[in-house]
Subunit: 334 residues, 2 copies
Amino acid sequence: MATISDVARAAGVSASTVSYVLSGRRPISAETRARVQAAIAELRYHPHAGARALASSRTSVLALVVPLRVDVNVPVIMQFVTAVVTAARAQNHDVLLLTKDEGTAGLERVAGATMVDALIVMDVECRDVRIPALRRLRQPSVLIGLPDDPDGLACVDLDFAATGREIVRHLAGHGHRRIALVGPTPVVYQRGTSYAERFLDGFTSTAAELGVRAVARPCEPGGDGVRACLAGIDAELSGVSALVVHNEEALLPLLDELRVRGRRIPEDVSVVAVCPRDVAVALPVRLTSVDIPAHEVGTLAVELAMGLLDGRGPAAPRLLPPTLVERDTCAPPP
Amino acid sequence: MATISDVARAAGVSASTVSYVLSGRRPISAETRARVQAAIAELRYHPHAGARALASSRTSVLALVVPLRVDVNVPVIMQFVTAVVTAARAQNHDVLLLTKDEGTAGLERVAGATMVDALIVMDVECRDVRIPALRRLRQPSVLIGLPDDPDGLACVDLDFAATGREIVRHLAGHGHRRIALVGPTPVVYQRGTSYAERFLDGFTSTAAELGVRAVARPCEPGGDGVRACLAGIDAELSGVSALVVHNEEALLPLLDELRVRGRRIPEDVSVVAVCPRDVAVALPVRLTSVDIPAHEVGTLAVELAMGLLDGRGPAAPRLLPPTLVERDTCAPPP
DNA sequence: TTGAAAGCGATACCAT
DNA sequence: ATGGTATCGCTTTCAA
C-alpha cells in the first residue's frame, strides 16, 4: 500500500504538505494541491487509519450500542441503526457496533483502546448501570432515551410525555370520555426504560385535566396477552370508546381480536397507536398514530456527538415534539 | 491514559516484556507475568488500538456490510447482525458496520485505510459489482449468499435448492399432487439475489421428478399482492392443496386472505414457509417451515473469516442443509 | 528469560 | 506557501 511518503515523492513535495492538502488545515497553492491530488489518485492512496488515530488521537469512528434483546422492537432498532450509520457517514465517520449485553465492559474496552471518538447508546434505562461508566470515559457520549439523572450527558428522544398528552387531547377533542391505554409488556416497566413511564404520565395526567376517564394496563405479547389486557380494561372501566396502543407487538393481535368481537374501527372503537410510521401504514388498516421518529432521533444523536467532539457542551436533553397523524382509525365515539 | 511504557515502568520491566505478556508470543516467567498483570490492572491499561494496528497491521475489527433496503426482511437481517457481532466478540474482534448503499466505495475505503482485517458481506447478488472489488482488496472476505462465480471467495448460505427439494418431498409424502409457490416479490428476482432462483430450481425440478403439478408466482407485498398472486395461481392450476411461501411479508396477509375465503389450514390447504423460526411461531398459527438459520450462517461467516486470516484458504461454498420443522399447517390434502 | 531500539504511517509544531 | 522532524504507542527483530 502507498504511504504518505510515496505520495509526497510522486508529487515532489514533503509529507507534511500532503497531510495538509488532505486536512485543509493550512493554505496550499492551487498548483501544489493539484499535483498532490493527482499523485493520490494515481497511487490509490488511502491514509492508514491506525497511523492517523495514533498521531491525531481521532479515529473517525463512533460506537453505537444497540440492544439485541428480543423483547425490544427489532424494526425500530434497525431504523435507528440506519439513521445513525447514514448520518455518521455524512460526517465522514464510521460506526462500530456494540451490543448492549457486553454492558459496561464493552464501553470501557472500545473507549479505553481509543477505538472510537464518541459513543451513542440506545435503550438507556432510568438508572442504567452504564451511565456512571460513560461519565468516566475520555470520550463523550449521547444517550438515546432519558435516564433519571442525565446530568452532563447528551440525550435525545421522542417527548413521550407530550405524546401521551397529545393523544389524549386528540381523542378528547373527538368527544371521547372513556379511554384506555394498552401499554408495553410488564417487563418494559420493570426494566425501567423511562419512555413507558413518561408516556403513561402524559396520558394519565392529561386525561385527569380534561375530565376524561382513563385506564391503563400493560399488555403481554400475543393474542392471549391482548385478551387478558382487554379483560382487565373492561373490568375497570365500561364503555371505553378509544384504545391507545403503546405496544407494537400487540397491534396486530389487537386488531384481530376486535374484529373477532365484531367491533368495527373506527365506528365502534377508535384506535391510536405509538409506533414507527411504516408499521402504522403496513397493517391491514392504516392506523392513526404518533410516529416514532427513529430517523430524526438517530440523525440528531450523531449531530450531538459531533457537537461534543467540537467542544460544544451537552445542552439540555433534546425531546422531540410528537406529531400525530390522522389516518383511518379515529372517529367520534358511537 | 496509561501507555505500555507506564506499565513497564510500574512493573520494573521493559515495554517489550509487557507486550509479550499481552500477546503470549514468547515465554515469560510466572513472576514477571504476575507483576506486569498487576501493573496493567493497577493502571487500568488498555493498549491503544491505533498504535497496535500501525505496528502489527492487525486491527481486530471485521467489516460487516448490511443491506438497509426496505425490500429485504429486517428481522432476519438483525439476526445475522447479532450472530456476526456475537461470534466476532467471541474471537476478540469488533464489528464495523457498513451499509450496502455505499457500494464498492465503502469497501475500498475501509479496506484501503486498513480499518478492518476482513469483510463479511450480506445480500450478495449473482453478479454483484462488489465482487471484483472484493477480490482486489488486501483483506479477505466472506460472502453471505452465493454469487454466480464465487471463485476464490468464501461463501456461506442456506442450501436453498435443497430447501425447495425438501419441502416438495415433504408435501408429496403427505399426498399432495398440486402445489403452488408464493415467491418473493418480483424485484428480488430482478435484482438477482441467487437464493430465490436456487429455491425455485429445487422446487420446480423436484416437483417434476415426483410427478407433482407445480406452479410458481412471485408475490408483491400487501393484501393486494397476495390476492393477485393467488389469482395467478388459480388461473394456472386448479385444485391446489398446498402453498409454499417463500416471502415473509406475504405470510400474514396470506393467512388473512385464506381465512376470509373460508379455507381452513391445514384441513383445506396446507402451508409450508421458508422463514426464521421466530416468525414461524409468532404468527397467529404456528407454521410448518424450513427455518432460515441466520445464527448459524452468521457464526460460520465469522469462523470462515478467522480461518482466512490464519491463512486457511477459502474452501468450497458452505451451503447449510435445510431442516423442515413440522408444526400446525401441514396435513394430507382434503 | 529479558531488554534495546528500529520501525509502522500519519500529524502538527517549528522553521524558513 | 512549504519543508523538516519530533511524536503518537505499540510490535518485533536483534542481542545478550
